[in-house]
């Protein structure tokens, strides 16, 4: 596993003929037999030309990968059922364009990999950002794992590949229930009652994030081509909402978490102050310090603000704002999951 950049040196690059390559070999042998039998001098020339082009294509395939520098990038959290995008930076410092690079998750067997590859080019002297999609099928950390970068360029006769293993991971939130009315609970210290006020005082616009309620989208701003924005409303202090695991009516843990996810999203969208209560031990969080550089992305970068009040408690005091929402979602996502191999 690598941290930081990888440069594809020749030790990292492997090469073998493809099925097409073997097929061409067979065709060339047939041609050579014909040349000998019919004494076709120009036939020899053609056969040798094709064979030598094949040999040179091996060098071209190698060159297509050689000395590329690859850095892992962020992977923004997604909800279960969505597609996680692992960003990778391909830095091509040479004057050669790299064509038809393919990135794929290795299959169970080397020869029969049914995963669909992501194909892209890296122009000369450019640093391209590539988003490698992986379906997020379970909540928690989704590991990019070991990826295979390969190319069959230029003739498809040789398969030239290298493994990339960065340990990048993406946080997968539970898939929110479609509709889940907010609970009418209050924070455990008893302060404040739930109120649907807060809808009144418009305080500004912020960027849309997945999960925001549709009625809150500022369609007028969208029409003015300012992108998707969400109206924000200030909430009077003291109106707090307590989102507790114990209050969820569902039987199944995943469903409970899905409901809580919906709650958090709705509460944030309505501009409420809300707190989070999860059963003890359900908080596989590291405390203090920064997240490891390769991990977490947005969630990790925002952590220090909330780290102040993260201790061994499983409860998150009321607050609001994107950072608070993300922290809540993060805790829900990682609730009751074994610690995953992360430094």
């Amino acid at each position: 596993m690598e941290h930081g950049a990888i440069t594809l040196t020749q030790r990292r690059i492997f090469i073998i003929p493809t099925k097409q390559g073997f097929m061409l070999g067979f065709v060339l042998v047939l041609m050579l037999l014909g040349d000998i039998n019919y004494n076709l001098s120009l036939g020899y020339v053609l056969t040798f030309l094709l064979a030598m082009m094949a040999v040179m294509s091996m060098l071209h395939a190698f060159r297509n990968l050689a000395h590329l520098e690859i850095r892992p990038g962020r992977a923004d959290p997604v909800f279960r059922g969505e597609t996680a995008q692992f960003m990778l930076h391909f830095n091509n410092r040479s004057k050669l364009s790299r064509y038809q690079l393919c990135l794929v998750q290795p299959g169970k067997s080397f020869w029969t990999n049914t995963n669909t590859p992501l194909k892209f080019d890296v122009p000369a002297m450019q640093d391209s950002e590539v988003a490698f999609p992986l379906p997020a099928t379970r909540r928690g950390w989704l590991q990019a794992g070991r990826l295979m970068l390969y190319t069959e360029f230029p003739l498809g006769l040789f398969y030239c590949w290298s493994y990339l293993h960065f340990g990048t991971r993406c946080l997968v939130y539970p898939k929110p229930l479609r509709v889940a009315p907010l609970p009418s609970g209050s924070s455990p210290d008893g302060t404040g009652k739930r109120s649907v006020a807060g809808d009144e005082d418009f305080s500004g616009l912020r960027k849309y994030t997945p999960g925001d309620a549709l009625p809150r989208i500022a369609w007028k701003a969208y029409a003015r081509e300012r992108g998707l924005q969400v109206k924000q409303f200030s909430t009077p202090l003291g109106e707090e909402l307590w989102l507790d695991y114990a209050d969820t009516p569902d039987r199944n843990e995943e469903e409970k978490l899905a409901r809580m996810t919906r709650w958090v999203l709705d509460a944030e969208a309505q501009g409420l102050r809300y707190g989070l209560g999860l059963p003890d031990g359900g908080l596989p969080l590291r405390h203090g310090g920064a997240e490891p550089s390769g991990a977490g992305g947005a969630a990790g970068q925002l952590l220090p603000q909330s780290a102040d009040f993260v201790s061994n408690v499983s409860q998150l005091p009321s607050n609001n704002g994107i950072a608070h929402r993300d922290e809540c979602l993060r805790r829900i996502a990682l609730f009751n999951l074994p610690q995953q191999g992360q430094p």
């Binding site: 004494n39 040798f48 060098l59 230029p154």
Partner: protein, 642 residues
């Protein structure tokens, strides 16, 4: 599939099957052209491909048509036709990239079949052009995103890089003398002399510009009227056609009183018959061959490939002065029921001549006096062809004269036979050799005279002496019937033609004729001692390895990123030291940020590391940075301790 990719495939297939159009049955050419047009139209209009059952129908119908046409599905002609048709049909069901790959391979294979028909220099150039198109399409198949120009560049680079490697392989790849298995009967097209001669068979050849063989003489060439290249000897006459007849006799010829020897080298084009051409009469040959009792030189197998041999002939000779009785009887065979007037004329001559030689001269005088015309377009003759020719038409080409002369001789009881072959040749002053074309085909007679043996008599020489001295164009009266170059073209055209032929000759000798024998000779001349295939393979691998290594260096030199400069190296050393102390720099972290983080973790280092980071940033990213500033920085790095 990408539109321009399909156009590329269409062009590739069109280029490789176009040269075949010449010899394919017309309906196959038409079908292929129609399919190509249809496919282009479908692609242009974004229309759906035809239904599978329709294609199946066309395929079955086409295959049936080919079987009907050739009465077989195998063999060269039928096989090539089938391949061309199937490749075109494959275009109609192009669905997956795999289909396109199959088409690319098919295209390469069809190029090879093209070499059955021609391996000339233009063909070779056309091969390169087709291959460029095919490889460009091939690259496109692998990378649909790539534009035409870089695609063509990559294809051209691949081809150019492959060329020197191909040259090495061509020279050193151990050659095996084919064939490996029996060839189908129709493996070779054939033009040239036949072992049957009937009125019109040689005059048809007279129109052919094709080269029969090329000769270079060692030393002074003989006179033109001595350049009789002996081919099949014809004994048996059925009243219309001359054939070799059946012979069970094989004994070596008996040449005496030899003189005026001449050495020469012949490069014979393949003619699919066994005979080799030599000047009369052959003495020595560098290749194993049989010399028959009627002085024909025969190769052991039909000449399917271009062939080179050196020979010596004696232009002055007496041949078989003591001839066997059976052979002389064969030379008197005559179908008595035909040509009564000619037989009568011969009887009159016989009565008026004291010996055979006088009789021969009487006959020749007859031909010169009776107003005979030498022409490429003689009138048709009836069933008494000799009578018709001698007394009515009086127009004919060499085969008419030879045939009539031998008939008259036999009727007058003089042993005689027809000899076919070539006469003369065209001198190529550029390459200093003679080109003998099919249009130089000739027929003459030989009579057996007591005490002299077989003597050549050429009645054509009496009627059209120019034929012997300067070639066909001087001899025939109606030169408009000749091919353009056989008439009298301007000098520059002649020169151009000679230059091109010299080039073609070199090409034939060195490229097309490069077989195991030539390879051996060439490698020995290059200085390789004891040429074995192991040695060749070794040299070949070494040569290929060296050139590929050179290419790799050249190709990969762009990639080696320059080493970091001293300033950067020094900074990286600092980072390394800190990393060992447990504070590695993150990939995204700039010098300044990193320094701040280190300073926070190790307050003792704070001032030092911040100073270094600032200097590093200034040196690396700032505009000013003299040598002294650099030295200062490097010194501070050396002094930096954790």
């Amino acid at each position: 599939m990408n539109k321009s990719l399909i156009y590329g495939l269409l062009l590739s297939i069109l280029m490789v099957i176009a040269p075949h159009a010449e010899h394919l049955p017309l309906w196959v050419s038409g079908l292929c052209a129609g399919l190509l047009l249809w496919r282009t139209w479908l692609t242009y209009g974004d229309k759906a491909l035809p239904k599978r059952w329709l294609l199946m129908l066309v395929t079955f119908a086409g295959t049936a048509g080919i079987i009907f046409n050739y009465h077989t599905m195998f063999g060269r002609e039928a096989g090539v036709t089938l391949l061309v048709m199937l490749a075109t049909l494959k275009l109609m069901e192009l669905r997956k990239p795999r289909d396109a790959m199959v088409l690319v391979y098919l295209a390469c294979f069809i190029i090879i079949t093209n070499f059955f028909y021609s391996q000339s220099i233009p063909t070779a150039l056309y091969l390169l052009a087709s291959l460029t198109v095919i490889v460009t399409t091939w690259v496109h198949l692998q990378a649909e995103s790539i534009a035409l120009r870089p695609r063509m560049r990559i294809a051209a680079v691949l081809l150019l890089q492959a060329l020197p490697l191909t040259l090495i392989l061509f020279i050193l790849f151990p050659r095996v003398q084919g064939p490996l298995w029996g060839l189908p009967q129709d493996a070779y097209a054939s033009t040239g002399l036949d072992d049957r001669m009937s009125p019109g068979s040689l005059s048809r050849l007279g129109l052919s510009e094709e080269v029969a063989f090329r000769v270079s003489y060692n030393g002074k060439p003989p006179r033109r009227d001595q350049m009789y290249w002996r081919g099949p000897v014809l004994w048996y006459f059925d009243g219309r056609t001359w054939t070799p007849g059946r012979t069970t006799l094989t004994y070596p010829p008996d040449f005496t009183d030899l003189g005026q020897p001449i050495d020469y080298v012949v490069t014979l084009e393949p003619h699919n018959k066994t005979w080799l051409f030599t000047l009369d009469v052959p003495d020595k040959l560098t290749i194993p061959a049989i010399i028959s009792s009627d002085f024909q030189v025969l190769n052991r197998a039909p000449v399917h490939a271009r062939m080179r041999y050196a020979a010596r002939s004696n232009l002055v000779y007496h041949a078989n002065v003591r001839e066997s009785e059976r052979q002389l009887q064969r030379a008197l065979q005559l179908p008595r029921q035909f040509n009564p007037r000619a037989q009568q004329l011969a009887a009159e001559w016989r009565a008026g001549s004291k010996d055979d030689e006088t009789l021969v001269n009487t006959a020749l005088r007859y031909f010169s006096k009776q107003g005979f015309v030498y022409t490429l377009q003689p009138p048709l003759l009836g069933s008494n062809s000799v009578d018709d020719f001698l007394f009515n038409a009086k127009q004919g080409f060499c085969e008419h004269y030879a045939s009539a002369f031998v008939f008259l001789m036999r009727a007058a009881n003089v042993p005689a036979r027809v000899v076919t072959g070539y006469l003369g040749g065209e001198y190529n002053s550029v390459g200093n050799y003679y080109i003998v074309r099919q249009s130089d085909a000739h027929a003459w007679a030989e009579v057996w005279l007591a005490g002299q043996g077989w003597v050549r008599v050429d009645p054509t020489g009496v009627i059209a002496p120019g034929r012997l001295e300067s070639g066909l164009s001087a001899a025939v009266s109606d030169s408009a019937a000749l091919p353009f170059m056989e008439r009298n073209p301007p000098q520059w055209m002649r020169d151009l033609r000679f230059n091109l032929d010299t080039l073609a000759n070199q090409w034939n000798q060195w490229v097309l004729g490069y077989d195991s024998e030539r390879q051996f000779a060439f490698l020995t001349r290059l200085g390789m001692e004891s040429v074995t295939w192991q040695k060749m393979a070794l040299n070949m691998s070494a040569g290929l390895g060296a050139v590929i290594a050179l290419f790799s260096l050249f190709m990969l030199r762009h990639l080696f990123v320059r080493r970091p400069d001293k300033v950067q190296a020094a900074w990286l050393r600092v980072c390394g030291r800190l990393a060992r102390a447990g504070l590695p720099r993150a990939a995204h972290e700039g010098a300044q940020d990193y320094a701040d983080r280190v300073a926070a973790a190790h307050p003792a280092l704070a001032a030092n590391i911040r100073d270094l980071a600032a200097r590093y940033s200034a040196l690396r990213y700032g505009s000013h940075g003299g040598e002294s500033v650099r030295q200062e920085f490097l010194q501070r790095v050396r002094a930096f301790k954790i």
